[in-house]
């Protein structure tokens, strides 16, 4: 579904990786591992088109990808290193605008998404008053809505407690079972069964 061929990337004049090739099939999760600063986040940003690689090509459903291709972006759900959450807005407002950038979403769907992530009581308080883990949940609530087939998740489990981690893991498994695919970075084992997941290791 998603494949990368011969990717190379420099940050400044430091080589992060080169000749990196991999493929993710429908129903499969790919975990990117490696020490801090080895380029995991950069790789994810390259996959979604925010950063351009030095060389190499990314293919989606067999087509070479151009930056800003709307057909690809419609399929993409990205939860990046930063949450993309406005602190003066409430979780409901944050989710509403994040989803509006993709599609029209009903108010009731927003509420059930936030409840799913355990934010039922905090829907209408400013995110400033929420903890880091709760803000992360607001960002992750985006995953429960819409129908993106490709999920790119940068450290999705950071700051989450065990319950929330389980919820997110369950979300990912449902997504994979429905024929989606996911690429995520994480230091811990992600706990998705080996038949469904693969991993690559970046070295610094």
């Amino acid at each position: 579904m998603l494949s990368a061929a011969e990717l190379a990337c420099f940050r400044g004049d430091r080589l992060l990786f080169q000749a990196l090739s991999f493929a993710v099939n429908a129903g499969q999760a790919l975990q990117i591992r490696g020490p801090n600063g080895c380029g995991k986040t950069t790789l994810l940003r390259i996959l979604c088109g925010l950063t351009l690689p030095e060389s190499g090509e990314i293919r989606w459903c067999g087509r070479a990808l151009r930056a800003g291709d709307p057909d690809f972006l419609r399929e993409l759900r990205y939860v990046g290193h930063s949450d993309g959450v406005k602190l003066v807005l409430t979780p409901r407002e944050n989710l509403r605008i994040a989803m509006a950038l993709h599609s029209v979403v009903e108010e009731a769907q927003l509420e059930s998404a936030l409840e799913r992530l355990g934010l039922g009581q905090f829907m209408d308080v400013p995110c400033r008053t929420l903890s880091a883990g709760q803000r992360r949940r607001v960002a992750l609530a985006r995953l429960t809505l819409g129908s993106g087939r490709l999920w790119l998740l940068d450290e999705p489990f950071t700051a989450l407690d065990r319950d929330a981690s389980d919820t997110v893991r369950a979300l990912i498994e449902t997504h994979l079972a429905a024929g989606g695919c996911a690429v995520l970075t994480s230091h811990q084992p992600i706990g998705i069964d080996a038949g469904r997941s693969a991993s690559i290791e970046l070295t610094s």
């Binding site: 925010l50 990046g80 930063s82 406005k86």
Partner: protein
């Protein structure tokens, strides 16, 4: 995304930026306060003679409006860049130019529009001749959106830099000069009883040009900044 979806995103983003502006009320008042303070201090510092004031009033008000806009520009993309919402915008299937336009429109509504509301009062304070007050207001109406639109390009280019403030002024001020010249000149011409259609049409042309090209340039600059 098809038509209605993109329009929906535009409206929602505009709405969000207006809500943000209202919740950050302190920042909202800054440009207006700056504009009013300059216009109030000028007669005190220079002269209170209406004749002398009248000759420079248009220029002073125009410069104050220009600097007030410049001061508020950095907010346009800074917080979105810092908290990652800019990434979400760039990854939206809607055209980035359209989303940029929504943000610039919100910026004008919260900075340009209050200046326009305050202008008639300040024009009296600065002894702008009665015949020229309407022209002054009209030039600001046509000019301030250009300031926001062109400023957007500068902010988009500098948002990734740690200290972009000085660079932003250097990039943007030369592009503001034509607007300032035609705007202030029209007011002077009206006061002297000359026709000003030419200047007003020039300002209209600037506005159309900025409206059609600036969002494209801003979107491209954001793409570079976010890399």
């Amino acid at each position: 995304m098809n038509g209605p979806g993109a329009g929906y995103a535009f409206v929602r983003l505009l709405e969000r930026d207006l809500v943000l502006a209202v919740r950050n009320r302190g920042e909202l008042a800054n440009p207006l306060l700056f504009y009013v303070i300059v216009a109030t201090l000028f007669p005190l510092g220079v002269t209170s003679d209406p004749k002398t004031l009248a000759t420079m009033a248009a220029g002073v008000l125009w410069i104050a409006a220009l600097l007030a806009t410049l001061l508020s520009l950095d907010n346009l993309f800074r917080s979105d860049f810092d908290d990652g919402t800019l990434e979400l915008m760039m990854l939206s299937p809607c055209p980035t130019t359209l989303l940029v336009l929504a943000k610039v429109l919100a910026h004008w509504l919260v900075t340009g529009l209050p200046l326009l509301v305050a202008t008639p009062l300040l024009a009296v304070l600065m002894a702008v001749p009665e015949a020229a007050r309407w022209t002054l207001w009209l030039t600001l109406l046509l000019g301030t959106p250009v300031l926001s639109l062109v400023g957007g390009i500068g902010v988009a280019l500098t948002v990734g830099l740690r200290r972009g403030g000085a660079l932003l002024s250097l990039l943007v001020l030369p592009l503001y000069v034509p607007v300032l010249i035609f705007g202030a000149n029209a007011v002077g011409a009206t006061a002297a009883g000359l026709p000003v259609t030419g200047q007003l049409l020039m300002l209209c042309a600037f506005l159309v040009l900025a409206l059609s090209l600036a969002p494209v340039a801003t979107a491209a600059a954001l793409r570079i900044s976010i890399d």
